[in-house]
Amino acid sequence: MSLIVGIDLGTTNSLIGAMDAGFPVLLADADGERLTPSVVHFPETGAPLVGRPAARMRVLEPAAAIYSVKRFMGRRVGEEAENVGYALAGAQGAPVKVRVREREFSPEEISALILQKLKADAERALEQPVTRAVITVPAYFNDAQRNATKAAGELAGLSVERIVNEPTAAALAYGLDKLRDRSKIAVFDLGGGTFDISILELNEGVFQVLATNGNTRLGGDDIDAALVEHLRADALPRVPDSRGADGNVRERVPPGLDARLREAAITAKHRLSTEETVTIDLPFIDGAHSLSLPLTRAELESLATPIVEKTRWHCRRALADAKLEPADLDEVILVGGQTRMPLVRRLVAEIFGREPNTTQNPDEAVALGATIQAGILSGAVQNVVLLDITPLSLGIETFGGLMNVIIPRNSTIPTKAGEMFTNAVSGQQAMLIKVLQGERELAKDNWPLGDFTLEFERAPKGQARVGVQFEIDANGILHVLARDTKTGAEKVVQVSSAIDVSDEAVEKMLEESLEHAFEDMSDRVFTEAKLKSDELLPAVRTALAKVGAQLTDEEQTQITAAVTEVEAAVAAGEPHRLQRANAALDEATQRLATLLIEQAMAAGKK
């Protein structure tokens, strides 16, 4: 068997490794660095730069330095927030493209450039050609995102032997020297762009994943964005050039400010993991003035808390799916750079009722695990096997637009399940089957993987029968096989991917979104705001009657003022004023809401 490398293709950084004498080893590039920033810079002329030199160009030329492209893998326009420093292209509903220097690139092409760099580094370090690889993806990646990752590998000239889930890979790295153990562990993986929680059982070399959950749009990038926003609000009023004649901050900001703020935010975030306060220096921010902004860990934490808190639901979901209580776990392993943040560690400790295990290098564990999986496949690692699962339920759309689950989430892969289809009317020759992934009851709320047409032979109603086999392979990728029950002939069904929607479909979606845009916005804003105040005002009255006596005079006055403003805005029929008034009333009644919940909890305990 020829050599197989293991690759962690991360949102922020990527790594590559290979087995050496039974141990996974990460390979360094020509500069001796193992971490390659997942950044590609396109200079005006010449070949694209990848990694550290590209990352340095992020501040100098933000529009041509592509970072965090993993967020767009397998995604369509409109699904993903577009708050990146470079331009995106593609019509609503079509695959996302990156636009740089008048050229468009798919996220796969950008990722392939990163993979090519890693491949070259490995070939230099190993002094032999590298053609086969295991590549990791977030466990919660869907079929389209996995296919896109595989395509990126192939574009880079690699035969992708396996797509492996990141938290599972980290578990392999953790468990490789504990093969005699039996234990249950959770892997909490918060990276730059994605969050996964996986629960595994380790049993004498068998690594069985019991449940996995996550969010492919949650990670350190979100904290960076919140911090940039905060710094921007802090910085702009201090830049004289950004003030208009009325003294208000104008939207025009010094060019390159956001890229510099992002760079400064990331550095500050890292330092605040070990320090309590930092000062962010931004010399010559608009060419003339320099800024110095203080930031405390507490401030960072208050910005990050709402983001980090989102992981709680996923952890509880995974535990419930694994039918385990936190106390049943032996260890909670932290991986992903963002888990260095003390706030994240405190939250994990609280959710799982134990101090997390930080023995794994949060940046390297996934790549080491990918390398171990590569070793398993090549035979270099023996007595270890990984039983992974599919993170999302697979189903088809049935009558009434419902989702009919065929392979439930958390099923061990590879797995297959059959479904029999019959003609609903006499002589029906074809049936369109829509394949979905997700957990929602209504088909339209799930991710469409694509559709295919089943062909029936002419027969009376209910007589033509075609069996369809859905198979999820060890990569978590779907294959469909149809079998005619009469002839027994099998054929692989091509599921037309939802991501390659036809031009016609794209145009239709575009038209619809345009129609939408022409609706009278201010009317709608007012109607929506009015609905909210209709709910809020009686709720405030009821709540005041129940627990109003516990409020301070000041709180009472604030609420009364906020109520008066809402009533005035309704009377005046001013949509945006009403929105603001509602928000203010929401804010003013927060303590009222807390009191109500406390009262209910106290009553429940009696």
Partner: protein, 190 residues
Amino acid sequence: MPDHFAALAQPRRPWLGEDALKDAFHRASATWHPDVAGSGDAARFAEANAAYSALRDPVWRLRHLLELEAPEQLARAQTIPPELADLFMRVAEFRQALSAFQKKDSAATSGLARALLAGDRQTLWQRVTALNAELDAAQDAALALLQALDEDWEPRAADAAERLAALHQRFAYLSKWRVQLGESLFQLSN
């Protein structure tokens, strides 16, 4: 019809130890999983994987045992076992109350409106917790019956098939409610 018991080298009986079954699956995986260099066999692993999902849950295990031993029993009409009728009514009432609450809860857009529902939420949470405890007790009772049936298991015995079918039904209802109420508890706790 595959024989899932044979696929994991388990005795064809109503009761299988959870840990023994898991170990059998893990042993089979360590040999047959397609990744295992040398002995990997995709078809054999698929059999073991299907067998493990079919045998680990009493509902599916008993169903499979009936398929193999007494398929005629599966064709019979399903009714709620009389001993579960009362529990069924209370589960149904609770689910109605929960869905009414969730309608109100999802309509509430402000923190205050949701806080006003905190009392209802707390009451429902207590109800579902109590119902779950009852379901756990009913499951334990059914498992005790299953173990008793297993002790004098003789598939050819006159009443074996009926007893097995009755238990299968009991587990099927309990399992459905346990899933539903487990989900309700999860939703109410968030």
